[in-house]
């Protein structure tokens, strides 16, 4: 943790780029961006020591709007990129931004293994239960009865439960936030960043364009009536019975993060090159 003077040296605005977001007005992602910058300022992290990595989708535009290092990667592959970066540059704070389509569908497999590997990074998924950028297809977290042009009458498929999957797969920190509470979200993000290992933060971030019904989330969310546990069994019971609107840190594990030794490789690259010669 940095000293008070370092912490006060950075303002949230220091982490914002000059690019203006092009999200729809009213989108929850504006608040999430605010929470990112507030969390970074709270921790007093130097912008050049942070890397924000993303995939594809509305949420994945976030690296461009920060003044940190960033990588707007391929659809669903943000965690693979981030894992590679973190194991080679453990000195960086790596934060990954994704959405429910990018993170749970296209990137679903990476999600499982990122939790399992427990590399020290923070995975933020802005969940609006729809593919917004491609104009309103159901995602893995869309309710079965939600009607779209592609799924008249609803998809009929039960939604994925990301927090339960994260816990079962080995994530070391699990939290849920609501974009409309940016101060609280910033505090949770700061806690997720400082917690060792793979931290997973689901942020309910309404899509005002394709899911105007999500305006009611503001009335549904509430602080979780329990404190975070490090007991996986207890956490599993809580998460399995949760209605999806309990906010806060729900699980804090104590697994040791995976960090391979970084240094010069024993492999002589010229030998490898020779093997692959045509």
């Amino acid at each position: 943790m940095s000293s008070v003077s370092t912490r006060l040296a950075h303002k949230p605005a220091d982490y914002k780029s000059d690019l203006k977001p092009i999200w729809c007005p009213g989108c929850g992602d504006y608040h999430v961006l605010m929470s990112f910058t507030r969390a970074f300022a709270q921790l007093g992290l130097a912008p050049e020591k942070i890397a924000v990595i993303s995939g594809i989708g509305c949420s994945s535009r976030i690296p461009a709007y920060t003044n940190c290092y960033g990588f707007h990667g391929v659809h669903g592959r943000s965690l693979a990129l981030a894992a590679g970066l973190k194991v080679t540059r453990p000195d960086l704070t790596v934060v990954v931004a994704s959405g429910d389509g990018d993170g749970y569908s296209i990137g679903g497999n990476h999600f499982l293994h990122a939790c399992r590997r427990n590399i020290d990074m923070t995975y933020v998924v802005m969940d609006n239960r729809i593919y917004g950028m491609t104009k309103g297809q159901p995602s893995p977290t869309t309710e079965p009865e939600f009607d779209t042009a592609l799924t008249p009458g609803g998809s009929g498929v039960a939604p994925f439960h990301p927090l339960v999957v994260a816990l079962a797969s080995g994530a070391n920190f699990i939290a849920r936030c609501f974009s409309g509470e940016p101060n609280e979200t910033a505090d949770v993000l700061a806690a997720a960043i400082t917690h060792p290992g793979f931290s997973f933060v689901e942020i309910l971030s309404p899509c005002v364009t394709f899911r105007p019904d999500q305006k009611e989330w503001k009335e549904l969310v509430r602080p979780a009536p329990v404190v975070a546990t490090n007991d996986q069994g207890k956490a599993a019971r809580r998460l399995m019975t949760d209605d999806g609107f309990n906010l806060g840190v729900l699980y804090r594990g104590d697994r040791v993060p995976f960090q391979p030794a970084v240094g010069a490789s024993d492999t002589d690259l010229s030998v490898l090159e020779k093997d692959f010669e045509l």
């Binding site: 303002k11 999200w23 009213g26 104009k135 042009a149 609280e184 602080p223």
Partner: protein, 176 residues
Amino acid sequence: MSNTPDNPKISSLEDLLAVAYQIEIDAVERYNVLADQMETHNNPELVKIFRDLARAEGIHGEEIRRLAGDFDVVNHARQIAKFGRRESPEEAELGSAHYMMTPWHALQLSLAGEKRALTYFSFVVETATDPKVKALAEDLVEEEAEHVTLVNRLLRRYPPPKDSWAEDLDPPVSQE
């Protein structure tokens, strides 16, 4: 709303100045975010309104900073002006923005913010034990009440829009 543990603790005149300053600065930042959104979505009338509101709040913030004299109100504000789960009282609600919103909507956001600030400073008046803090809080209440009146007056120029205000002839649609 003011009677919650989320309000910053006001123990001195310096605390109140810092919180009052931060409330104005947060409002400036929020109005500028909204102006940027409207710029991106080509709603120039709203860009002007939000920029004007940001400018007005900035002037109030500057007045408070001047009132604080040599005291470093900016730094103190960053340390103590925290509103917990809620946002700062005068921050316009981002979730209520819409790319086709009208001046009436913008002023409604502003009115709601001024009223929240009024409630907050009234709470400080009620709970202050230091007479100097109480006196300054009363001035701030008076000022916020003037702002409420001013926004209400501005609203007379902009009647509520028709129910069809959000009707877009080229709307974003779900993919067929």
